[in-house]
């Protein structure tokens, strides 16, 4: 949807719905309320940061979106259509991709193979023709390989294609995990702590990459490194104890006293020492 298209009259009445909308999402684990009536939207062309102290519910929010955790109440919408129950494997077809904390790459496979796993949804040949190696699937195989190579190229890590993740620098592994999510050509990319373990220079490169991605998709970012969040995000949603305590531009959020009290106030002095309390346990669900 480019700016030059003539204005569609219908659009004046029905604004296009955001790619992703959560409304009043609540998650309880036993007596613990991990998310308390959280509402937010994310759309293509913007970077939405989700921040908050450890245990505020950021990863739980991602897990709800991905279908790993079922919300106790509230609902999710994709393109304005409610999703009654998300199954993780449907996400890619909905245009949503996610990276995990850490790298989560298959250690026994090359980087190229890792990325190719993410590519198969774009090039589907039938299950049976793929299994039996019929001609349509052979074409599909090479299309999958090509699109994986193309993404690696775009992220500048093509040289790593035939290496196993463990033999590569951490920053390259992180990039490969983003490549694996991007190869499905999502409209919404969820990045879970993409900057953890990166050096300052690598973090700058990551920031550039995220800003670049914004031109073709939406990005939702859970991150502890405030420098990165403040420079790349268009909007920031602040969670504390599972509830949204502030939403706004980086400047608005920075000046919000509630945020300072809940989060920045205690964290700012120590922020450069890296994640103060360490990463949340992976797959918190």
């Amino acid at each position: 949807m480019t700016k030059s298209t003539p204005i569609d009259v219908r659009e004046c009445h029905y604004r296009r719905m955001p790619v992703l909308a959560a409304s009043e999402v609540t998650v309880r684990f036993g007596g613990l309320t991990a998310l308390n009536r959280v509402s937010l939207t994310a759309d293509t062309g913007e970077v939405v940061g989700v921040i908050g102290p450890n245990g505020a519910g950021k990863t739980t929010l991602f897990n709800v979106i991905c279908g790993f955790v079922r919300p106790t109440s509230g609902r999710l919408e994709v393109d304005g259509r409610p999703l009654p129950r998300v199954h993780p494997h449907q996400l890619v077809s909905l245009g949503i991709a996610r990276t995990l904390q850490g790298v989560g790459l298959w250690q026994g496979m090359t980087v190229l193979d890792n990325v190719m796993v993410g590519a198969h949804r774009r090039h589907r040949s039938g299950f049976w023709s793929a299994l039996l190696g019929l001609p349509p699937s052979v074409r599909t195989e090479s299309a999958i390989r090509d699109s994986a190579v193309e993404v690696l190229d775009r992220l500048g890590i093509r040289d790593a294609a035939n290496h196993r993740p463990a033999s590569l620098p951490y920053a390259i592994q992180k990039r490969a995990s983003i490549a694996r999510a991007l190869v499905a050509e999502p409209r919404m990319l969820l990045l879970d702590e993409p900057a953890s373990g990166l050096s300052a220079a690598e973090m700058d490169e990551l920031g550039e990459l995220i800003r670049e991605l914004r031109s073709t998709m939406g990005v939702m970012l859970v991150e502890h490194h405030m420098d990165l969040v403040m420079t790349v995000c268009d909007r920031i949603v602040v969670l504390d104890f599972g509830a949204v305590i502030a939403t706004g531009t980086p400047d608005q959020v920075r000046d919000d006293p509630a945020v300072t009290a809940a989060y920045l106030g205690q964290e700012v002095g120590q922020a450069d020492a890296g994640p103060v309390t360490g990463g949340e346990p992976e797959g918190q669900a």
């Binding site: 494997h89 890619v92 989560g104 796993v117 993410g118 198969h120 299950f127 299994l131 190696g133 999958i144």
Partner: protein, 292 residues
Amino acid sequence: MHEFVSFTLSGVTQGMIYSALAMSLVLIWRGTRIVNFAQGAMGMITTYVAITVVDRGDSYWWALVIAILAGVIIGGLVELVLVRPVESKPPLNAVIVTLGLLILLEAIAGMVWGGRYRSFPPAFSVQGVFVGSSRINLSPFDIFTICAVLAVMVGLLVLFRWTSIGLRMRAAAFEPEVARLLGVRVGRMLTLGWALAAGAGSLAGLLVAPNVFLYPSNMDAVLVYGFTAAILGGLDSPVGALIGGLGIGLALSYIGGYEGASLETIGALVILIALLMVRPEGLFTRVAPRRV
């Protein structure tokens, strides 16, 4: 010397059969982290299917195809119906389920086909071929056995290494949650893994049947050999399954040949126990700690 060559040749042939069975155990272990104690019994059932087809007057080859297809279907169904519900439960549940299935299948075979020993026709002559003027201990059927197992192994290797569906199966086996996020239908991949494994197991059952006769528990000892081979190879490694199978085949052939056939089963168990004590991770597994 002639004796040694003879034992070696029969060891290789038997070893290939154990490899096929070990391969099916390895495939299931990689996919679902379950040791399928019913693998042998599933091969026994499909061998009965094959002999039923042969009894009707159809050819061996037709019986072979039907038996392997039946194995594939049984494997897929077992995963869908019996294994799926216990997949996320403690490992012991799956052990009990596959043991229960073993007993169930042997009972069903006894009810349907009876408990008597039946001979199973080989596809080719089991008389050793002549090399020069002397007959060696390698029959056309042995050669067929070796070729059939190798063909299956190569087929599986190609599937896993060079196709995207194989890639997805590996992905689903090692990090199911990540695979789901990338749009992989993990459940479908696991069903497929069980189906392929059971197909390989069926082949092993058919190939071993001319040697051990066909009766409801005819695969029990063979399963022990296949299992030992899989452990020797590291349970996680298809190449290990092949080499482990050959190793066990040769070891048992020497034990049986030099010390008497009655020691074969004990020999396999001794090897198994020694392995589990000395090198439980097997000879061919790169030690990769699983994150829990």
